[in-house]
């Protein structure tokens, strides 16, 4: 039956990709592994944005705020409470959820461009808070976080171990989001994306669905932030700025909104261009990103609506 074949093919690919990722630190040098760790943490943020923009059809420019909130929480926990990576990740996720819940009810009252503008306003406001609040280091950010430890073990100094922790967490988030997209709740979100008035006519409260997915995406962004801090052991207001949110949205569009592994690939490519390629071309990274933006929109018109061709592999 076509369905069984498709599932087997998808799981095969998934296993191959995971083994490739797990083996990476054995083959690659510390800098490459550090870069891949940052890509994984950024991909977790992008998964949150994909859940919001790809699955539920709500384009957002404010998820960096919750990503930053998670990162700041992880560093504060690392500095003052415990260096246990699990605790930091859970704290980051929780703060991301709370921050999204506290600010989300304003945004979900609107849709389309006005929703986009509200998320932009939330993002910029939280960025200002981080940049001016002395308790979180104001514009210098928070540094000096001790290296993370797992289950009370020794501090994970070498890049490879940190990488494995971030990989494990990222895979967990990926599996969770996959489950969400295939669950009845995922179906409800797609319903809100396609035809909100019909959902109302069927007895749903679309605002509740939008608010719940906004909080969920905030939690995922918070987790991404915590993983970002686990690797960098440092956070600054720039981590929740407009640029990070725009790059996350771009990653979703490059990868094809609605699919899950597409945007993760998009995230890796976008970071590769910003952090590694930019230096070698005289600091004109944004020029390359701009050209990539335009190319994606023209050459891959279905990039955004790539949902449909994902029909057979429902990953």
């Amino acid at each position: 039956m076509n369905r069984a074949a498709a599932t087997r093919r998808t799981t095969l690919i998934a296993v191959a990709v995971i083994t490739l990722l797990v083996a990476a630190p054995l083959a690659l040098g510390p800098y490459a592994v550090t870069t891949m760790t940052r890509m994984l943490a950024f991909a977790v943020l992008v998964l949150g944005v994909d859940l919001l923009t790809g699955i539920t059809g709500l384009p957002t420019l404010g998820q960096a705020a919750y990503f930053g909130a998670g990162a700041y929480t992880a560093v504060l926990v690392g500095l003052h409470i415990t260096s246990d990576a699990m605790a930091q990740a859970l704290a980051g996720t929780a703060v991301g959820l709370i921050a999204a819940a506290a600010t989300g009810w304003v945004a979900v009252r609107a849709r389309g461009i006005v929703f986009l503008m509200l998320t932009l306003a939330i993002g910029e406001s939280l960025h200002q808070v981080a940049a001016t609040w002395p308790a979180v280091g104001a514009s210098n950010g928070l540094a000096g976080m001790p290296p993370i430890t797992l289950f009370g073990g020794p501090p994970l100094l070498p890049a490879g171990f940190v990488y494995w922790w971030v990989l494990a967490a990222a895979i967990t988030v990926f599996a969770a989001v996959t489950l969400i997209t295939r669950s009845p709740y995922g179906r409800t979100l797609r319903g809100v994306r396609d035809n909100e008035s019909r959902m109302r006519a069927l007895g749903y409260r679309p605002a509740l669905a939008r608010y719940s997915v906004f909080c969920l995406a905030g939690a995922i962004a918070g987790a991404g932030g915590a993983l970002w801090a686990a690797q960098g052991r440092f956070v600054s207001p720039g981590d929740l700025g407009f640029e990070v949110a725009a790059l996350a949205l771009l990653s979703v569009v490059i990868g094809g909104a609605g699919s899950l592994w597409g945007p993760c690939l998009g995230a890796a490519l976008v970071l590769l261009v910003r952090d590694n390629l930019s230096a070698s071309i005289g600091g004109h990274g944004p020029l390359v990103l701009g050209l990539v933006f335009v190319a994606v929109v023209f050459l891959l018109p279905r990039g955004v609506a790539g949902i449909r061709h994902r029909r057979e592999s429902r990953s």
């Binding site: 489950l179 009845p184 709740y185 109302r200 069927l202």
Partner: protein, 258 residues
Amino acid sequence: MTPVLELRGLTHAYGSLRAVDGVDLSVLPGERHALIGPNGAGKSTLFATVAGTLPATGGSVLFDGQDITALSESERARRGLLRTYQHSSLFLNCSVLDNVALAVQRVDRVAYRFDRAARRFGRTETRARRHLESVGLIGRAADDAAALSHGERRQLEVAMVLASQPSLVMFDEPTAGMSAAETERFADLVERLPDDLTLLIVEHDLDVVFRLADRVTVLHLGRVLASGAPEQVRADNAVRSAYLGSARTDDLFNGGPR
């Protein structure tokens, strides 16, 4: 017995235009009630005001004896007052099965569950497939709603409404754009519906109306012109002139000078 649906002086005005002007109507449980009238009589506006898509500017709507005039559209749907759409309003980027399953999962209260894959919610899946079978779309379950023909979309619309376990279904011109065969299938489907289900159908195809309806109400310029058994309404002169618009109705029948 208390009527399932009762309208008391229901009004909806676009500014000074009173599209629905003080309509009184009652629909008894299990009744197949048809609402007919020439174009622009206010049928769709009345429909939307009862369903809650449009707010009433006057009068009240009672459902199972309770006043629901102030309730939102989704609240009325949750109480069992469901409607279909004249221009079918579906989830085009979702599969046909998903379209129906969305209705079923809300009734089964699993719409916000994300602990297990949708496939493994057995009861919801089977009931969704059963509704698809009843409208003959089970073969298209995996296709996208956008890939359906106009007639098939109308049938999917019906399946979605029935899947929500309604106590009152409001059909908005269900056979518009359907082929003769599809209209026949729709009429059979309505006749097979359980007797405790109450129907309010807005329809132009008078053959379908007089085949299905227990009672007929004629709407003209936002007001009820006549209401009663199908034969009685068919014979009513006021209805004929309102419908046919000419003073001397016999001209129409023997091809008078044009």
